[in-house]
């Protein structure tokens, strides 16, 4: 019972677990289950994408021409880098290097800001042109397909849901930074970093698929 009342950073754990390792592995299992639910939720959108893309291939090809692949590629690289720095923050925590751990978390957060910044620019550009979802589509230029609104609905729903998860992830990273600066993470305990990290990697994974599907379709 002596390990129960110790702080986590000294190897303590909640009363209903046998030891700290037991608690860590269970927390990881729980997060993987939660990630499963996220994959299913986004998966519904991916299913809708594939269904409509199959039914209206011309609409999707034409819609993609309004997306700038360079922005998408930069965002992909930014998120991949952020996954790298996220995993490094855990690496440094495991090696008891708090300062580097915090620095990595800050860089990860920064990548999140860059990603959202680029998304903001992309959205503003489209909104100005009237490239809006569904019924709100009001683009005045020449169009080939008659239901481009459907393409942009798909685009906004998928990137919007993804973007909201990036924001949530960034919030979680801020919380991790606060705790890391307090010295709560070390080789004995880094569970929160591990769990937030797994969530962040999922956000990266979804974008890895979104990028070719939305930007590179032809």
């Amino acid at each position: 019972m002596s390990t129960v009342n110790k702080p986590r950073s000294e190897g303590g754990h909640a009363f209903h677990f046998d030891n700290a390792e037991h608690e860590f592995e269970t927390s990881k299992f729980g997060i993987w289950l939660f990630l499963c639910t996220e994959v299913l939720m986004f998966g519904g959108l991916f299913v809708a994408y594939f269904l409509f893309e199959h039914k209206f291939p011309e609409t999707f090809i034409e819609g993609a021409t309004y997306l700038d692949w360079k922005f998408g590629a930069v965002n992909t690289a930014v998120l991949l880098l952020s996954s790298f720095t996220m995993v490094l923050s855990i690496y440094y925590a495991q090696n008891n290097k708090t300062k580097q751990c915090v620095n990595m978390l800050f860089i990860t957060l920064g990548c999140g800001f860059i990603f959202m910044g680029i998304k903001y620019l992309e959205y503003m550009h489209k909104i100005e042109l009237g490239l809006l979802p569904g019924e709100m589509f009001s683009f005045t230029g020449e169009v080939g397909a008659s239901n481009l609104g459907l393409y942009f609905s798909t685009y906004y729903m998928m990137t919007g849901l993804h973007g909201s998860h990036v924001l949530v992830g960034m919030g979680l990273i801020v919380w991790c930074i606060v705790r890391a600066r307090r010295g709560e993470y070390n080789s004995k305990y880094f569970t929160t970093l591990e769990c937030v990290g797994l969530f962040w990697h999922l956000v990266d994974l979804i974008w890895i698929y979104l990028f070719p599907l939305l930007y590179l379709v032809d």
Binding site: F15, H16, G30, L33, T37, L40, F52, P133
Partner: protein, 530 residues
């Protein structure tokens, strides 16, 4: 740490005050909070049901002014019962309380997440009821497009409320899967777990896998209502039936979320009150997981006449009949358990036997509906209404009541009034059949469901049905009295009044905060009566 003095402290009296309950991390307290919440919502949903039946007592307007008001009543009756009562009802209440106890654990894997799931239910329910200030919703709890898009009232709030309540279900599911995998006592492998745990585990898998799809479906519906995204709008190339595909991909597994824990309870009740080891433990365990898996393949049987293709319909019809097989296996095994057992007819067992009778009728009529040629006539008639009330009320609700009385002494350390409990059962069982059996006939004669009014020829059976609903109401009011008076002034209960063998009975009634006075070690199966 297990001196006699400690045994006076239990999870109920260890801390006091409302705040200690609202911030508790103890799975037993959270289970009790869910119990009170679910019973409260059941009361409201039940009142709506009585109003519906009162309206249908006579042709023409009876207690409501017209179709608009009636449609709101039936929508809320459905939404409340589905999202606030039957889905959380067993897992979040009895499951939360007894899953850790039955596997010899000290709590669920994630106690804070557990508390969060309760708040999700409360907040989601509050948002749902808030929609009533905007004329509620009149789409039916299934929100079919295009009407749900066009209707101009509080529908979007009900949709959002359901979304938040979905999180409650997901969090419970994540917790239970992790708990079952990681917190079993030494010696308890998967095949030494009680069947209630198998039921909860299969349900939890469904909660984790199916609910997120409902989440995205509701989000898409909300987006279509507010921004006109067009996924379900043919004018933009969308498909209204796509909503139904997405919706039922969750909602069919959802009905197994409703019944699997109930079946788990029935396994416990039948074996305890027959004082005999359960027949075919592994078959029942595998059937639970099997039902959960196959439940994902059958959603289109809700859509035979919606415009989906005939080929898709045939595929779904065939797969639906498959899901009846594991269910039948369980039913046969329960009856085989009773055979040559030493049957005790206390109220939990009465409810278990009531379940066997009513659920069988419900299940068999489900197989009837699976036959596409039959469903073409019965779809959207009272036949379907009768079918699902037989499985959900005759099935799940019977099991909840049986479970409440079975585990009452463990949860509260007191006994309830057995005679009044049996009286309650009588009113509910008789009243239920009087209410719903005529509805099979009405449906076969062609009376449509969800309609505010009906042809005069249907009136006599509708009157019978309404009288039945009053009997059910009386039965549940008596039940409420039994539970509350038992909690307040019941006789002190022993640790194991039924002589049952599962782990929760090896600790005191009520259990202490950490569940067991000593770490249990399991050396045999859960039902070794002889």
């Amino acid at each position: 740490m297990s001196s006699a003095a400690d045994r006076s402290k239990n999870y109920l009296n260890e801390e006091s005050g409302l705040w200690s309950w609202l911030t508790t991390l103890d799975h037993k307290r959270i289970g009790i909070m869910y119990m009170i919440t679910v019973m409260f919502f059941f009361l409201i949903g039940g009142v709506f049901a009585l109003l519906i039946r009162a309206e249908l007592f006579s042709v023409g307007p009876t207690v409501v002014e017209g179709a608009a008001q009636y449609n709101q009543l039936m929508t809320f009756h459905g939404a409340i019962m589905v999202f606030m009562v039957i889905i959380p009802g067993i897992p979040a209440f009895l499951g939360n309380f007894f899953l850790p106890l039955q596997i010899g654990a000290k709590d669920v894997a994630f106690p804070k997440v557990n508390l969060m799931s309760w708040y999700c239910l409360i907040i989601g329910a509050a948002i749902s009821f808030y929609s009533l200030f905007f004329n509620g919703a009149d789409t039916g709890w299934t929100f079919y497009t295009p009407y749900s898009i066009e209707t101009d009232n509080g529908t979007i709030l009900l949709v959002l409320g359901a979304f938040v309540m979905g999180f409650s279900s997901i969090l419970t599911g994540v917790n239970f899967v992790a708990t079952t995998h990681r917190l079993r006592a030494p010696g308890m492998g998967f095949f030494q777990m009680p069947l209630f745990v198998w039921g909860l585990y299969s349900t939890a898998i469904l909660q984790v896998v199916a609910t997120p799809v409902l989440g995205i479906t509701l989000l898409l519906l909300a987006a279509e209502k507010t921004m006109g995204i067009g996924f379900f709008d043919p004018a933009l190339g969308g498909d209204p039936v796509l909503f139904q595909h997405f919706f039922w991909f969750y909602s069919h597994p959802a009905v197994y979320i409703m019944i699997l824990p109930a079946m788990g309870i029935i396994s416990e009740l039948i074996t305890t009150f027959s004082r005999k080891v359960i027949f075919g433990y592994k078959a029942i365990a595998f059937s639970s997981v099997g039902i959960a898996a196959v439940s994902f393949f059958v959603w289109g049987h809700h859509m035979f006449v919606s415009g989906q293709s005939q080929l898709a319909g045939v595929i779904f019809s065939f797969l639906t009949m498959l899901v009846g097989v594991p269910t039948a296996i369980k039913t046969f095994n329960w009856v085989a358990t009773m055979y040559k057992g030493s049957i005790q007819f206390q109220s939990p067992m009465l409810y278990a036997m009531g379940f066997l009778f009513l659920f069988t009728i419900g299940g068999v009529t489900g197989v009837m509906l699976a036959v596409m040629a039959v469903d073409v006539h019965f779809h959207d008639t009272y036949f379907v209404v009768a079918h699902f009330h037989y499985v959900m009320v005759g099935g799940t609700l019977m099991a909840i009541m049986g479970g409440i009385y079975y585990w009452f002494p463990k949860m509260f350390g007191k006994m309830y009034n057995e005679f009044m409990a049996q009286l309650s059962f009588l009113f509910i069982f008789v009243g239920f059949n009087v209410t719903f059996f005529p509805q099979f006939i009405l449906g076969a004669q062609g009376m449509p469901r969800r309609y505010f009014d009906y042809l005069p020829a249907f009136e006599p059976l509708n009157r019978v049905s309404t009288v039945g609903s009053w009997l059910i109401g009386i039965g549940f009011l008596i039940g409420l009295y039994v539970i509350v008076s038992g909690m307040l002034k019941g006789k002190k209960a022993p640790d194991n009044p039924w002589g049952a063998k599962t782990l929760e009975w090896q600790t005191s009634s009520p259990p202490p905060h950490t569940n067991f006075h000593e770490q249990p070690v399991v050396t045999g199966g859960p039902y070794e009566y002889r």
